[in-house]
């Protein structure tokens, strides 16, 4: 017996010796078959998706011997449908990035399952301890870590620096007209001692109106004057969010958001009706189709809009240059700047002719999470990818290339040295400053259809051409709120649409023709008393 054992040991020893001898010539272990392709469903444009695949998934695949591919969708409403359809088609979807507004629907339809099905809660807590409770909180459902954090999106204000400079320089030419427009509502005009704010992050509702009014009467480059300010409208998530966040800037809170006839709502719709009456909003906002994210981006891209709310990721897309494939979408990226949304101020003035109600800047924080599809066959690889993405280096890489707001505490602390480009740091500072003046989207916005009601009210009052005065007309309209509509979850469309058209970098040898606006006198149109 012992002899047999010894012979076996000798055989084993020889085998190990041979193994080590061979290893000398092949020092890197061969990779086993990474297995079938698996998919991660995300809302990205084609350029972003290509970057994510090359600089994130491919690195992850190499490190973990996986075979993950990004399955992109163009619109967030398609995320659930594409996830479901991919699973039906036999594709193994191991992760889906969902906005918080879709989580309830995803759970109810059993599209997703909790991460704690595959990893113990204690393990999740250990793996993500660096992130802190605040980041993990949005993923908790019924005290279970149902989802894991992906990113937080909030809106900031994007504006054209040259046009703001022009407004600062010349707006006072139109002061009588602006006063007259405001006096129709508050009986006075601009607040006492008003001057257009020179610090973008301190702009108020009045500053924005003054600029919007000025721009809508100012011709540039020999073209007719037209409205240059917009926000998103329509009864879908983009429009709802913009309208309700404007309400919060005027004093609405989570406790009062469902009180449709409250004072902030009256203030908001008065402002909106005034913008419409003065032709300060782009007319497309009042069309049948929602004026959504894509429309705002297109407006900024084409130079039609000088001021609009967009999120930091959209800011990166417009600016371009965040990675090699990201070409600038605007003619002059250096002219595009970002700041927090204006502070809220009521049209009504107090006895001293100052705004009767003022509130700080506000924007909703929209949390996105990683969801584990119920049918994921290799759920662990999805979990490992989430861990990989939250490494500080990878998170910073994503922020730098895609414009995601830095959230990892270490990356936030090191943001000055990590994000050194001026424009990039401006976007992030605007986003982080805005995040300090933001709150998570109230559940009522979607669950109870509050957002839908306000969006429909906007259509009823603003598109329906109810005047800002008398106030009673608006109050009457608010008294009978419409029936809320559920958010659409659209069917999966062809997700392989061609990539968005990107502009070639400007020819540096032959700069584009100047309109000489910087040196000419102001050309004003549609001003009473002027040609």
């Amino acid at each position: 017996m012992i002899r047999l054992v010894l012979i076996a040991m000798v055989g084993l020893g020889v085998a190990v010796d041979v193994f080590f001898a061979v290893v000398n010539f092949y020092p890197v272990a061969p990779h086993p078959d990474p297995g079938p392709r698996r998919f991660v469903v995300m809302q990205l444009d084609a350029v972003q998706a290509a970057w994510f695949q090359t600089h994130v998934l491919d690195d992850f695949n190499a490190e973990t011997n996986s075979n993950l591919e990004v399955l992109r969708v163009g619109e967030e409403e398609q995320l659930q449908a594409v996830t479901r359809d991919a699973a039906t088609a036999g594709k193994d979807v191991v992760l889906t990035a969902l906005p918080e507004t879709q989580l309830r629907h995803a759970i109810e339809t059993k599209l997703v399952r909790p991460f704690t099905d595959v990893v113990s809660p204690a393990q999740v807590a250990t793996d993500f301890t660096e992130l802190g409770d605040a980041l993990l909180q949005p993923g908790i459902v019924d005290k279970t870590q149902y989802f894991l954090p992906r990113m937080t999106v909030n809106d900031v204000a994007a504006y054209r620096v040259s046009k703001v400079r022009d407004a600062v320089l010349h707006w006072s030419v139109l002061r009588p007209q602006i006063d007259a427009a405001l006096a129709k509502i508050n009986g006075h005009g601009l607040p006492a001692g008003y001057e257009l704010g020179l610090t973008p992050r301190a702009w108020t509702s009045y500053d924005l109106f003054v600029m919007a009014y000025y721009w809508s009467h100012r011709g540039y480059g020999g073209q007719p004057a037209r409205p240059r300010v917009a926000h998103r409208t329509g009864d879908e998530i983009d429009g709802q969010r913009d309208i309700v966040s404007a309400l919060y800037r005027l004093g609405t809170t989570d406790a009062t958001v469902a009180s449709y006839g409250a004072r902030p709502a009256i203030d908001l719709y008065q402002w909106e009706a005034l913008y419409r009456d003065e032709g300060a909003y782009v007319p497309e906002m009042f069309g049948d189709e929602p004026y959504d994210d894509e429309a705002v981006i297109e407006g900024l891209r084409s130079g039609e809009l000088f001021f609009a709310p967009i999120d930091t990721m959209e800011g990166f897309i417009l600016h371009g240059g965040s990675h090699e494939g990201a070409l600038a979408q605007v003619d002059d990226p250096a002219d595009l700047e970002f700041t927090s949304m204006p502070h809220g101020a009521s049209l009504a003035l107090d006895a001293t002719n100052h705004p009767a109600r003022q509130r700080p800047s506000f924007s909703f924080l929209e949390d996105w999470v990683w969801a584990l599809p119920a049918g994921a066959r290799d759920a662990n690889v999805g979990y490992q990818l989430v861990r990989f993405l939250w490494r500080p280096e990878i998170h910073a890489r994503e922020c730098e290339a895609l414009g995601m707001l830095p959230l990892h505490p270490k990356v936030v602390a090191e943001r000055v040295s990590r994000f050194r480009l001026d424009w990039m740091s401006h976007v992030f500072e605007a986003g982080l400053d805005q995040a300090r003046h933001g709150e998570r989207t109230p559940p009522e916005l979607i669950a109870k259809g509050v957002g839908s009601v306000y969006a429909q009210l906007w259509n009823r009052i603003v598109v329906g051409k109810l005047g800002p005065i008398p106030e009673s007309a608006i109050v009457e309209a608010l008294r009978v709120p419409p029936v809320p509509k559920a958010l659409a979850v659209v069917a999966a469309k062809d997700t392989a649409e061609p990539p968005p058209e990107t502009k070639a970098p400007p020819d540096i040898a032959a700069p584009q023709a100047e309109n000489e606006d910087w040196e000419t006198d102001v050309v004003l149109e549609r001003v009473a008393g002027k040609p």
Binding site: G13, D17, V23, N24, P27, L421, D422, P511, W518
Partner: protein, 228 residues
């Protein structure tokens, strides 16, 4: 003491004779047993010696090959760390270039601002406006060129930082492997010592214990190769 003769054969009792013969036979048997035991012990010692020799040979080869593999891994780690350092240095150089160009750009932007302010005080027909326009276009072209340069510099920095990160991960990987190989080498060395001691102290369990330790050491080495 006198020589016994056949003629003078003493009168020895028969019982005593038998007893003597028995004693002699016993002595002979004991002697044979001792010889056999000695032969067996010698054979066992020779067997142990052979086992120890074979084991030592295998373990020495193992240690030798594993040492080479470890050295390769360490060398790869050093190379990767070199790439990390080189990439970081190059990135730092590129950042310096970026800052220089940004300073240049700021100069042109300031000049443009000064122009814009000066032009405000000039009449439309003032010839200095034409000069200002010329400078404005010139500065704008310079700014655009610098922006384009900075864009390229930034993308080069991104590539370098990406390379540094990948190389650091590679170095970390080799570091883990090197450490695992180190554990294997130390364990195999311990096994070799234990097995060698078997030659000095006649304790066969030491040999088998040494084999067990060697198996553990070999496992460290083999798993180190497949470590990810």
């Amino acid at each position: 003491m006198s020589e016994p003769t056949t003629e003078a054969k003493p009168d020895i009792p028969e019982d005593l004779e038998k007893a003597i013969e028995t004693a002699l036979a016993r002595l002979e048997a004991e002697r044979k047993l001792e010889v056999a035991a000695a032969a067996k012990a010698a054979a066992a010692k020779a067997a142990v010696g052979r086992r120890v020799s074979i084991a030592a040979l295998l373990l020495t080869m193992m240690l030798s090959f594993l040492g080479f593999v470890r050295a390769q891994s360490e060398s790869a780690e050093t190379d990767a760390k070199g790439i990390v350092q080189q990439s970081r240095n190059e990135a730092a150089t590129e950042w310096t270039l970026y800052q220089t160009k940004t300073s240049q750009r700021s100069g042109f932007i300031e000049a443009e601002d000064v122009l814009a302010r000066e032009v405000l005080s000039l009449a439309p027909s003032d010839p200095r406006r034409r000069l200002a326009r010329f400078h404005h276009h010139e500065y704008e072209a310079r700014v655009r060129a610098l922006d384009e340069d900075n864009r390229q510099v930034f993308h080069r920095i991104q590539a370098l930082e990406s390379r540094a990160y990948a190389a650091q991960k590679n170095a970390d990987h080799h570091d883990r492997r090197t450490k695992r190989y180190d554990m294997g080498i130390r364990t195999l060395t311990l096994a070799l010592v234990l097995i060698s001691v078997t030659l000095l102290v006649d304790r066969s369990y030491l040999f088998f214990f040494g084999l067990l330790v060697a198996a553990i050491g070999a496992s460290f080495g083999v798993t180190g190769y497949f470590l990810r």
